[in-house]
């Protein structure tokens, strides 16, 4: 078995119009910048995909990564907890113009909805958001005398995730807090595509340290020395680079 893909273009080739795509990362940490940029390249070259629903904790920062994807007009709907950042103008302008839909989800509920999607649990109850605007229209039930809000699973056609080491069976490790949503999104997507900083032979990753077991991963591509969104933004980078 070999889940490695020849290049970034091949990694994003299967994403079709209207699909739901989970994109890993919390702010810049764990953001799969190269996979996102490959998706932008494909859209510019072919006009597809369009009309995506994207699941991410945030809504992009500056003009690279997720912000650049949104700026291309590829994203019809965003499901996230915190659509603000140091430079959120791309999302903010489209949202206030009514050109992108937002489903705002509390952060822990977002994580658990994704986990539930990956674990085959269609709904669960949480105390989070009870009595607030974000619980409106949702089923409430009491357990042990306290009210809880019913939340539904969240699943995706694709996940785009950044990991540290990966082997060709799809076993993954992550780097520090870049782990965040990665393991959950790999579980919840039909096809989880992972960019790894280092592709290694099976047996290299100590089984005790595998964070995402390969069963949750469908494709890997090696991106050595991946870009950090924060570094790109500090350099005022824009993707795609404007033609001079």
């Amino acid at each position: 078995m070999d889940k490695t893909l020849p290049d970034l273009a091949a990694a994003v080739a299967g994403i079709e119009d209207g699909m739901t795509v989970m994109i890993g990362g919390f702010g810049g940490s764990g953001a799969p910048i190269e996979l996102i940029h490959a998706l932008i390249d494909r859209h510019i070259a072919t006009g597809h995909p369009t009309n995506l629903t994207v699941v991410n904790n945030n809504a992009g920062n500056g003009h690279v990564g997720l912000a650049a994807l949104i700026e291309q007009g590829i994203v019809a709907k965003l499901i996230c907890s915190f659509p603000r950042s140091a430079d959120p103008r791309v999302f903010t302008d489209l949202y206030l113009a009514g050109k992108i839909e937002l489903e705002l989800v509390p952060q822990g509920t977002l994580a658990e909805r994704i986990r539930a999607g990956g674990a085959g649990i269609p709904a669960f109850y949480t105390p989070t958001s009870y009595g607030t605007d974000l619980a409106r229209g949702k089923k409430i039930e009491e357990f042990e005398g306290r009210p809880y809000v019913q939340e539904r699973w969240l699943k995706a056609d694709y996940a785009l995730v950044k990991a540290d080491k990966g082997d060709r069976l799809g076993n993954l490790t992550y780097r520090m807090a870049a782990r965040n949503f990665g393991p959950l999104m790999c579980m919840a997507a039909k096809t989880a595509i992972v960019q790894v900083s280092q592709l290694v032979e099976p047996g290299t990753i100590d089984p005790e340290t595998v964070i995402t077991p390969g069963i949750f991963v469908q494709g890997l591509v090696e991106v050595a020395n991946p870009a950090q969104e924060e570094d790109l933004n500090r350099a005022n980078a824009v993707y795609p680079e404007p033609v001079q």
Binding site: F26, L102, P106, Q107, G108, A111, D133, M176, G182, L184
Partner: protein, 222 residues
């Protein structure tokens, strides 16, 4: 009578954190609480994006952008740091494993309702982990100015702004006082020595109850 600075409010809140407590500090102003742990006590700080037991900010130029806190600021590793994914992180929050969460507030109501995520329907709504954090920590405390910039009370009978959580706050540290929330009432515990009870009541949007002595709120110059 000089009201406390934000730094002094943070200092006061830090005095109530026990050695070994697991603590989440909200983004921004509450993050300052970490600086004022009393000598001999060491709390373990949790950040929603997946770190337990992180250290302070690195020197400029030494940031590692895979090692950030919930405010997306760079932090550092310490002996005993642990990483985990987001579902585990919020299991720590909702599952009742945190001892204390200290958060900012727009308004706190006498029944413990908190409004701290939205100032109304204008603009882009953003909630982050605020609605999760108010549930599950054994103690949810708020640090805040006692009144708004326009002089309106932030301790109120009923929140006018959209709620973050219902009946969740148990103690409020303000620029003038320390107030507990007990059985649907504000109970005054400490106030600045130069401030009379009546003055404090006039700056508070709901009745301040008394339950035993009120101590002077004493904070060092910082």
């Amino acid at each position: 009578m000089t009201k406390l600075t934000s730094t002094q409010i943070a200092w006061r809140a830090a005095q109530d954190i026990d050695d070994g407590a697991y603590v989440n500090l909200g983004i921004g102003f509450p993050e300052m609480v970490a600086k004022f742990q009393p000598p001999g006590r060491q709390a373990i700080f949790h950040t929603e994006n997946g770190i337990l037991g992180f250290g302070e900010a690195p020197a400029p130029g030494l940031e590692d952008w895979d090692l950030i806190n919930a405010g997306k600021k760079a932090v550092t590793l310490k002996p005993g740091t642990a990483f985990f994914h987001h579902a585990d992180s919020f299991a720590m929050v909702r599952g009742g494993h945190l001892d204390v969460a200290i958060l900012g507030a727009y308004e706190v109501a006498e029944n413990g309702d908190l409004a701290n995520w939205s100032t109304g329907p204008k603009g882009v709504p953003a909630v982050g982990g605020a609605m999760d954090l108010v549930h599950g920590a054994k103690r949810v405390a708020v640090i805040t100015e006692h009144v708004t910039k326009d002089g309106k009370p932030k301790l109120v009978q009923k929140c006018a702004l959209p709620l973050t959580g219902v009946g969740c706050v148990t103690r409020v540290y303000t620029s003038l006082a320390v107030v507990d929330i007990q059985d649907g009432h504000f109970v005054l515990r400490e106030k600045l020595a130069g401030l009379s009870f009546d003055e404090l009541q006039s700056l508070t949007g709901a009745t301040l109850h008394l339950d035993g002595d009120v101590a002077d709120l004493i904070v060092p110059e910082l």
